[in-house]
Chain length 130, copies 2
DNA sequence: TTAACTGTATTATACGCATAGTACGGTTGC
DNA sequence: GCAACCGTACTATGCGTATAATACAGTTAA
């Protein structure tokens, strides 16, 4: 059964996309394996405290990307292949890195400063001093 | 006069927040100095191809954060102090770094892999191969 | 002074996201 | 077979974002 314990919903971004992202992260990190079972729409919506329609929207998006299979009446399951792993990994890790690198460069940082900053926040993400 | 040439609006995120972000980036990078003049709401909305109300919403948010001053009838100006620079820098650079680092760690990357990835995408953000 | 421009406010419409409630038919296990 | 559960679909409402069209008062420069 796919776990959603680590998913903390943030406001400001569409919930259904956060659910999609959680699944993709699980696929990339290996927490989700091929054939893993999803909680039912109703159960998952109760777990997350959101509307069943929101969960359904996330599942619909996941199915359109080929990351889960759904059949009326039966549970849904993850579809994890080397291809889907690579696609999700490219989308999440590299896409995020490119986005942050572009942003940091636009802010006037140099590569060395950027690398140092990543090193700093890697183990102490909550440090407040400046 | 504050420039908006480098601002390319993306769909999917609120336009008014993208305008706010553009100002904050300018403050952090030094492109915007204290007292710099903003284009009028109408002019800026025409430049960006968005509704004047959207620009007004961004300006209202900026004024509430103390990053610009607005007086009815007169132009608006940037308010750049060491404090606002530090606040924007912390919000943009460090916040983004923490966010990406947390994401990358959740995806199973190690620090060395993360640093190598940043190095890779720093100069070639559009590389497609994998 | 006055005309042009400014920031600001208002009403209305449209769309996406999220919610609420309900309903239908397929699958599963007893 | 049948009850319980499942995925799926639908209508309706509310909210935030973005648009459109005005309107009004303050500022500025000729």
């Amino acid at each position: 059964m796919i776990s959603f314990d680590g998913l903390r919903l943030e406001e400001g971004r569409p919930i259904y996309l956060q659910i999609v992202l959680h699944i993709k992260r699980g696929i990339v990190s290996g927490a989700i394996a091929d054939g893993d079972e999803l909680p039912s729409r109703r159960i998952l919506s109760a777990l997350l405290g959101v509307n069943p329609n929101t969960v359904q929207k996330a599942c619909r998006a996941l199915e359109e990307e080929g990351l889960i299979t759904s059949h009326a009446g039966a549970r849904s399951f993850a579809v994890v292949t080397p291809e889907t792993i690579a696609a999700c990994r490219a989308e999440l890790v590299r896409g995020g890195a490119e986005s942050w690198a572009r942003s940091a460069r636009g802010l006037g940082l140099g590569l060395d400063e950027a690398l140092e900053l990543i090193r700093e926040v890697w183990d102490n993400p909550k440090e407040e001093e400046q």
